[in-house]
Each structure stands twice: as C-alpha cells, then as structure tokens.
C-alpha cells in the first residue's frame, strides 16, 4: 500500500513534491460497498443519507456510515483504515465551510492513496480552499462533486433535491 502520510502541516512548499496516488476505478458501482464519511456540519448527514439511498436504489450498493470526529481537521488514520477495510468506494462531505472543505479534501487524498476511489462533496464557495488543500497534499486537480453554497440552511426536501443533483457527478467520480 502506498504511504499516504505527508507533511501534516505543509510548512514547506516542498511538501507537494511527490504526487499523491489515485485509486483505480471500478467500471460500475453495482454491488459495491459504499462508505459514507459524514462530517458534522448541519445537513451533512441527511445529504449523505439521501445520496446513499439513491446509490442503493440505482446500483444495489451496501452502505457503511462513519461520522467524523472533528469536521475541521483531517480524520485520524485509524478511522480512515477502518472505513477503508469495510468499503470499496467512499463518499464524504459536505464541505460547506473553509475548515471542513479543506479537511474533506485531505481525507479524500488519503483514501485515494489507500486504494479507494472517493467522491468529496464541497459547496462551490469552498472549491478554492479544497483545491488548495489537495494541492498541498500532492493531489493537484483533485476532483469534487460540488453543490451550491450554503447547505446548512436548506430544508429537508431541499437537501434531498441537492443530493439528487450531485448523484451523477458522484458516480462519475467513483467509476472509470
């Protein structure tokens, strides 16, 4: 397994010298195990729960959920390993603030290095922050599924609508 540990602070620009690996993609999600890594931002759980429901409905996936310890920082390595052992692909989010978008991007880079395709969901306002963190972690050009900011204030029905809107992008990110 590639070593996913990079300079956690990125104190020097040299931290980006080695490109982070990208996991191979399955041709389809049918029958795959999908890990949902839910940050604790408002509406992240119903957003990913609905997205998981749609994936199960469309691709007969099985779902595993984990909740981030702290939305503002990258997830501890043991949590990443646990989820990686129980899933074939990962969906994480929702990054609708600076710290949670950066942390989601950092988590995504680690999952990819661990061999798991990942779909990181961020709001459009924080794409730049997520890009900056991904580049810092050696993954320039990292792909995201984006939805309009904000998510936190949406109603239950609006959250479901947003989840449906990113479904195709999430599938595209996770498959070849």
């Amino acid at each position: 397994m590639p070593n996913a540990i990079l300079d956690p602070t990125g104190t020097t620009a040299k931290a980006t010298a080695r490109a982070a690996p990208r996991a191979p993609r399955p041709a389809s999600l049918r029958g795959k195990r999908v890990g949902l890594l839910i940050n604790t931002k408002r509406n992240a759980r119903p957003f990913l729960t609905e997205l998981g429901r749609l994936l199960r409905e469309s691709y007969d996936v099985t779902l595993t959920e984990r909740t981030k310890v702290n939305f503002a920082v990258p997830e501890p390595e043991d949590v990443i390993k646990d989820l990686a052992a129980e899933a074939d692909v990962i969906v994480t989010g929702v990054g609708d603030c600076g710290s949670c978008s950066a942390a989601a991007a950092a988590d995504g880079v680690v999952f990819e290095a661990a061999g798991l395709p990942v779909a990181v969901i961020v709001t459009d306002s924080f794409r730049a922050t997520a890009d900056a963190m991904a580049e810092l972690r050696g993954a320039p050009g990292f792909g995201y599924a984006t939805t309009a900011h904000p998510v936190a204030v949406l109603t239950e029905d609006q959250v479901k609508q947003r989840a449906a809107e990113v479904l195709d992008d999430v599938v595209a990110l996770l498959t070849s």
Binding site: D7, P8, T9, G10, T11, T12, A13, A15, T16, F71, A72, V73, C97, G98, S99, C100, S101, A102, A103, S125, F126, R127, A128, T129, D131, A132, M133, E135, L136, H149
Partner: protein, 78 residues
C-alpha cells in the same frame, strides 16, 4: 510575486465564513493577516499550520517565510 488570482480565490472562500484576508509582501517575507467579521464562523477557519501550508503553495513560498496573523492572535494582544 504574489499570485493574486489564487489569493483572491482563497480570500473569497474565507469571506464566505466571515473572514477577511490581506496578503502583503514585506521584502523577502510575506504577511498574511486574517481578521474576523462580526458573523465569522469560529470553527470554520483552518488551523494556522494548515493555512501556512495552503498559503505557501498558493504563493510558491516557503511556509517559514510567511507571517500569519489570526484573529485570536489579535485578541490575545500578540
């Protein structure tokens, strides 16, 4: 030289969380001052070490050459 486009993109993201970013060059060093507006989301600002890395990449500079001031630094009188 400061990549204004990248810095402006970061500043726009920070502004969404209620923060203002000002980046200035001071000789061989770069100063990045982040101030909080009245509606700033306290938990939404990345830890300073991560911000240092992000800015170092955006600026193409060594992180040690960037002086970062966070809102908490000002409130503590630093």
């Amino acid at each position: 030289m400061i990549d204004t486009e990248r810095i402006e993109a970061l500043a726009t993201s920070l502004a969404t969380d209620g923060y203002h970013l000002e980046v200035t060059e001071r000789g061989s060093r770069v100063s990045a001052v982040i101030t909080a507006g009245p509606e700033a989301c306290e938990d939404c600002l990345v830890p300073k070490d991560f911000m240092r890395g992000i800015l170092a990449n955006a600026l193409g500079a060594d992180g040690e050459e960037i002086d970062i001031t966070y809102p908490a630094d000002n409130s503590e009188g630093n």
